[in-house]
């Protein structure tokens, strides 16, 4: 697509920008600041605050010839209107002359600021935004030094209005810019807040129950240009300038949002350094300038007093505290005798460096490298993922995205947001799911199937199968076959491991058969439940269908960052029977309780490392808290296998994560060339945020610590699809009336890294199965029912939900329940 460029002059400077650019953005790109409050570069302009008024002149055009009328010097004659115009709503035009520094403009800015301040409480000294406040900064720069408004005539309004339990509104501070309202309706499609009343009484209200019911609410506090919106998490917590900022990566889902921990030493915490808040860090290729509320608020597990503090060793049937040496020696000895009858089971919370060292130790033993995940197919993602240079933020006309078996809004929120925006830019979306999701509304095709039909549904899109398929499938198949680029995202809605693995294979086959491999913005993505499951696949860990059997048979099982016993009674049984159990963990999980040796580990804020996102982007996180901070005895996960390795004569890096990355790059082709310096590289991004630009893009942090690097392709050829199609297990129905149970993934689950964040408790999913009211009646289900798993039954609460398809029961994951069947 050729973009037409438009030339104009701003304050005497010649500027060329693409047609359609707004004057305010054109000026910003030329380094000229025009103050704004209501305008935000990610939102449609509204021209409400009138802060951006400038003089705009346009060349006079001779109607007869359609040419510019020239003056004596041969320059176009410029005509200025009688009024100033809003730079935020006016698109550039050829030959336009913009003046942002005339007396008239300077006076107008002062006037509008004086107006805004007439009803502003000016309580900067106690305001959370003080120090990073656009109103404060713009007033210093453009405002009048004194106000002529009598202070006693100010209007006083409520200062602590909860818009729900997460976000508070200070009505006095609100300047009615509407950014929050527009963010919620335009950008994230949760129009749960709005304006009510009029004039000076105009106020933000929430319409939802619970209040401000949106998983995006925290972002409004970043773009609010004053301290009117604050999170319950941070309000009155600290002043911005007292805190240090440290770059990190969210590991709650596959997106890998870039974030910043703001920390400070605190008397309240006995002089320790603590995390005060989580802020987004700009990465326009990943999370832009946003975070979901889970990423923003579910960090309190790091500071939980339930954290494991020292190694534990089982003595006389009890786990008792022990020294590191004792624990390491014991494990070393057991490893020696276990030999290759050793299983390493790792979770997706670990960093690449952790996974590498744990993997190396396992390989040296000749053991099995197993990945703990409900989803399979990461080996296919390695081969089929959209290659380097791909960016969901660039999808538009010609792009097609197929989302299968995935409640993306819940499973990978930022991907949902970016796809929704891609649709706005002209991309087409095909949604195949068993139940309605928040993506349906943006889809060109919605294909509904019954749970269990996921793989068959995708197979129907394949060119060889499409003839004779139902109309919607034929039409969707045509759309995706003809797409310039095609991205296929699969999730875990209703899928167990085997089904998920089979689905991934068919999705990959679809990409292959429709010629959408090896192309930028085409490929396969998986909405993993953790931040680094893809890293596990890349580093050679694999899921297995017979995990319980393998755990049971092993002489030694080593579990890192996973709680199989807590999640699954069958695995609990297996773990209990295993020869010797080593666990490295943050908490005393169910699995840890059964262990023979438990090692305490550090959270990511206490150490360095990197994750591989679902898009195969390797991103670094940095230590935010000083060493020996929260848990002085704990070690980074990668150090533990290295310390054991040392005793076994296996050389592994135990100290520097950067060095581990060099070993990874040397061994794994996809990582070739990656090192910590490259991961730290940055580039200029649009829109500008933070620092002196926070009035523009908001308080999202500027990315100075690295945009990350996408792994190299390891493509090609039909052989990519090996191994052969996966068989799935048929499960025996326990009784004629039993309902099949399908697992679903929700954002606010009850996992170990979420529960310690008390603020989110009201929003967490309840441990219950969901059944459609009609189905419940047909199957005589009361408020409680029997959930059956591997022949055993537990009592479970039944929640009636209209959104659940008939003849099935849905069970949210990570609520401490598991089952295949439901009976009255």
């Amino acid at each position: 697509m050729v973009v037409k460029m438009v030339s104009l002059t701003i304050d005497g400077r010649a500027v060329a920008v693409p047609a359609g650019t707004l004057v305010v953005d054109a000026a910003k790109k030329a380094g000229i600041d025009i103050p704004v409050f209501c305008y935000h570069p990610k939102l449609d302009p509204v021209g409400m605050c009138r802060q951006c008024l400038v003089e705009i002149g346009r060349p006079l055009i001779d109607r007869a010839t359609n040419q510019f009328i020239l003056d004596a010097d041969g320059k176009p004659k410029i005509s200025f209107g009688p009024k100033l115009e809003t730079a935020c709503t006016t698109p550039v035009s050829e030959g336009m002359v913009v003046v942002t520094d005339s007396d008239k403009v300077v006076a107008a800015r002062k006037d509008v600021l004086e107006f805004i301040l007439t009803s502003h409480p000016l309580d900067c000294p106690i305001c959370d935004k003080g120090g990073e406040c656009p109103l404060q900064n713009l007033t210093m720069r453009y405002g009048p030094p004194v106000s002529r408004f009598l202070f006693d005539e100010k209007m006083h309004l409520a200062k602590h209005v909860p818009l729900g339990e997460l976000i508070y509104l200070d009505r006095e501070r609100c300047i009615q810019c509407g950014r929050c309202v527009r963010f919620q309706s335009e950008l994230v499609d949760d129009p749960v807040i709005g304006f009510s009343q009029r004039g000076r009484a105009l106020q933000i209200v929430t319409f939802s129950n619970p209040g401000f019911d949106s998983i995006w609410s925290g972002n409004t506090t970043d773009i609010c240009p004053v301290g009117a919106l604050t999170t319950a998490d941070f309000r009155f917590g600290a002043r911005p300038w007292e805190m240090n900022a440290s770059a990190s990566i969210c590991n709650h889902c596959a997106v890998g949002c870039n974030l910043t921990y703001n920390v400070r030493r605190e008397a309240k915490a006995g002089g320790k350094t603590v995390i005060k808040r989580v802020m987004p860090r700009q990465n326009e290729m990943v999370n832009e300038i946003w975070l979901c509320d889970k990423g923003r608020l579910a960090y309190h597990y790091m500071e939980s007093d339930q954290r494991l503090e020292q190694p534990l060793v089982r003595k006389g049937g009890e786990l008792v505290p022990a020294g590191w040496d004792e624990a390491l020696n014991l494990v070393t000895e057991k490893l020696r005798s276990a030999g290759n009858r050793m299983v390493m089971l790792v979770g997706g919370r670990l960093s690449n460096e952790d996974l590498f060292n744990l993997g190396e130790l396992t390989e040296a033993q000749g053991g099995q490298k197993l990945l703990y995940s409900y989803m399979g197919g990461g080996d296919l993602v390695s081969r089929f993922a959209p290659p380097k240079g791909s960016n969901l933020g660039e999808l538009g006309a010609g792009s097609v995205v197929l989302v299968v078996a995935c409640d993306l809004h819940q499973e990978a929120p930022l991907w949902w947001l970016r796809l929704k925006q891609a649709v706005k830019r002209g991309a087409k979306l095909i949604v195949a799911s068993a139940r309605p999701t928040r993506l349906d509304k943006f889809a060109t095709h919605v294909v509904r199937y019954a749970y269990g039909e996921e793989t068959r549904t995708v197979a129907a899109f394949l060119p060889v199968n499409v003839a004779g398929a139902p109309q919607v499938i034929q039409s969707a198949a045509k759309t995706l076959t003809e797409a310039e680029d095609l991205i296929v995202i699969y999730g875990s809605d209703g899928l167990y491991l085997e089904e998920s693995t089979a689905l991934a294979r068919t999705c990959a086959e679809l990409l292959l058969k429709t010629n959408h491999t090896g192309k930028v913005n085409s490929g396969l993505l998986a909405a993993w439940q953790n931040g680094n499951l893809q890293g596990g696949w890349e580093l050679g860990f694999r899921t297995v269908p017979d995990l319980a059997e393998r755990l049971e048979k092993a002489a030694l099982v080593w579990v890192a960052a996973a709680d199989p016993a807590g999640d699954d009674p069958a695995l609990a049984k297996a773990v209990r029977r295993t020869g010797f159990l080593v666990v490295q963990e943050l908490f005393l999980t169910e699995t840890a309780r059964m262990a023979d040796v438990v090692f305490p580990v550090l959270v990511n804020a206490e150490r360095e490392g990197s994750y591989t996102s679902g898009e195969r982007r390797v991103q670094r996180f940095y230590p935010a808290l000083p060493p020996k901070g929260i848990v002085p005895e704990a070690r980074p996960d990668f150090a533990i296998p290295a310390l054991v390795g040392e005793k076994l004569g296996i050389e592994l890096e135990d100290h520097s994560a950067a060095l581990v990355m060099e070993h990874i790059a040397a061994k794994f082709a996809a990582f070739a060339g990656i090192n910590y310096q490259r991961l730290a590289e940055v580039a200029e991004q649009w829109p500008p945020v933070g620092g002196s630009d926070l009035y523009y893009g908001g308080t999202s942090y500027l990315n100075r610590q690295g945009l990350g690097v996408t792994l190299s392709d390891v493509l090609q050829g039909e052989s990519l699809l090996n191994p052969a199609p996966i068989q799935t297990t048929q499960r025996q129905k326990p009784s004629a009336d039993a309902l099949p149970v399908y697992p679903i993934q929700l954002l606010y689950d009850r996992g170990t890294t979420i529960l310690p964040s008390a603020l989110l408790h009201e929003r967490l999913v309840q441990p219950a199965v969901w059944v459609h009211p009609t189905t419940a009646a047909e199957h005589k289900l009361q408020s409680k029912a029997r959930l059956i798993y591997e022949g055993e039954a537990v009592e479970v609460a039944v929640l009636l939900s209209e959104q659940t398809p008939p003849k099935v029961a849905l069970l949210p994951r990570s609520v401490g329940l598991l089952g295949y069947w439901l009976e009255a």
């Binding site: 302009p45 509204v46 021209g47 409400m48 605050c49 009138r50 802060q51 008024l53 009688p82 009024k83 100033l84 709503t89 107008a108 006037d111 509008v112 004086e114 107006f115 805004i116 007439t118 009803s119 002529r148 408004f149 009598l150 005539e153 209007m155 300047i175 009615q176 709005g194 304006f195 009510s196 009343q197 009029r198 004039g199 000076r200 009484a201 105009l202």
Partner: protein, 417 residues
């Protein structure tokens, strides 16, 4: 005038009844238009008549209709029956007493732009009128004058009424559209204009009730007949709403170009004995105050003359007469109070400026001000000027600036006790 064109009910009893309206030729024009005229023929007749919008802005009606693009459908017509300008009560009389002429005008407009769905947006206080209009619409449907395939043609039309919830700003056409869509009544950013992006994002014509009531006689009798009234640039008749300090306030249907003197003294019976006309507000509360000297009284009331000779817009021609018993500072504090109360709050200068002006005006009004307050009031008003998102904010300072400039002594009298 011998014969009324808009307020015909004053000549014909019971004109608000369908059979009476029909007996006097009612809906024949609509039937003739739908069955024998092309939509553009209706449009061209209205264009040729030079009819200008009676809602305040005076924009040529036919030209407005012709802006609707023919590649975007559906089209809508919305009748603006919000009539909220203080001192304006003409639409109400039409709606109450001559509703069918208004409806026929709305129907002709709808046919001209090929709208199949049209709305009447009424201020909330007009709920009784709305009920009455609903009954009229039901009768028209029963009589086959509204509905599907009218007169056996392909043309169908339905009309619905909608009540506002008590906001002056909802008379502004884009705020009206927002309100009609069920949203908070705040003006939209323009462009795009309603002719392209109107109701539900579709091309829309918005016309005042009085404007539409002019349409049936124009289509019936022709543009050249209509142009025998009024002036070259402001043709036709206008209902002048006369109120304030006059002996006979009321609606007066007169040709555009009638002078203030004629209206106030000949028709309105002059001011109470012993008083003198001091000032005139020609456009309700949104007026720039006119100092009522001889020159002003002799100015013809058409869109050009009032603006050019007196520097004040004619607006909706809601003529409020102020006599010499009135202190202008008091009057101005009333208009400010009104605009402060009605500011929608969307844009800063109007929201904050009217609030601030109100504080100052109250101080002046109650004798609690310092002498600088008059200058401050003037400064704040000028500071609002030309910065607002919609015309309400600009209206809010008209009486303030003109009042201080022309009647400064009234303010000084208040300030000095």
């Amino acid at each position: 005038m011998k014969e009324h064109i808009l307020l015909r009910h004053r000549d014909i009893p019971d004109l608000h009844r369908l059979e009476v309206y029909q007996k006097h030729g009612g809906f024949e024009t609509f039937r003739r238009a739908v069955t024998t005229l092309k939509p553009e023929e209706v449009l061209n007749e209205v264009k040729a008549s030079g009819l200008r919008g009676r809602g305040g802005a005076g924009f040529p009606t036919g030209v407005k209709w012709s802006f609707l693009p023919n590649n975007l459908w559906p089209h809508y017509v919305v009748a603006n029956a919000d009539e909220s300008e203080p001192g304006t009560f003409k639409d109400r009389e039409i709606l109450e007493s001559n509703p069918y002429q208004f409806l026929e005008g709305l129907m002709l407009a709808s046919y001209a732009v090929q709208a199949n769905l049209s709305y009447v947006y009424l201020r909330g206080e007009f709920w009784q009128i709305a009920r009455h209009l609903d009954a009229c619409i039901a009768e028209l449907e029963a009589a086959g004058l509204l509905g599907e395939h009218l007169f056996g043609t392909d043309y169908s039309l339905r009309i619905y009424t909608h009540l506002g919830a008590g906001a002056y700003i909802c008379g502004e056409e884009t705020a009206l559209l927002e309100s009609l869509e069920g949203k908070l009544g705040q003006p939209r950013l323009r462009p795009p204009f309603p002719a392209v992006y109107g109701l539900f994002g579709k091309p829309t014509v918005i016309n005042n009730v009085e404007t539409l009531a002019n349409v049936p006689p124009i289509v019936e009798r022709g543009a050249s007949w209509y142009r025998t009234y009024g002036t070259e640039k402001s043709p036709g008749v206008k209902i002048f709403c006369l109120s304030g300090c006059v002996n006979h306030p009321g609606n007066y249907e007169l040709p555009l170009g009638t002078t203030f003197r004629e209206l106030i003294f000949e028709y309105g019976g002059g001011v109470p004995a012993g008083r003198k006309v001091k000032a005139i507000m020609a456009a309700g509360a949104s007026s720039s105050l006119i100092a009522a000297d001889e020159n002003a009284l002799d100015t013809p009331m058409d869109y050009e003359s009032v603006q050019e000779k007196l520097g004040a817009p004619l607006g909706s021609a809601s003529v409020i007469v102020i006599d010499d018993s009135v202190n202008i500072a008091w009057l101005v504090s009333k208009t400010i109070e009104f605009f402060k109360h009605e500011s929608c709050g969307k844009c800063t200068p109007c929201r904050e400026g009217t609030f601030w002006m109100n504080r100052i005006a109250q101080r002046i009004e109650h004798g609690k001000s310092a002498p600088e307050d008059v200058q401050l009031l003037e400064a704040v008003a000028s500071q609002i000027q030309n910065k607002c998102l919609c015309a309400l904010g600009e209206f809010s300072i008209m009486a303030v600036l003109s009042g201080i400039q022309k009647f400064r002594t009234d303010f000084e009298a208040k300030v000095n006790g």
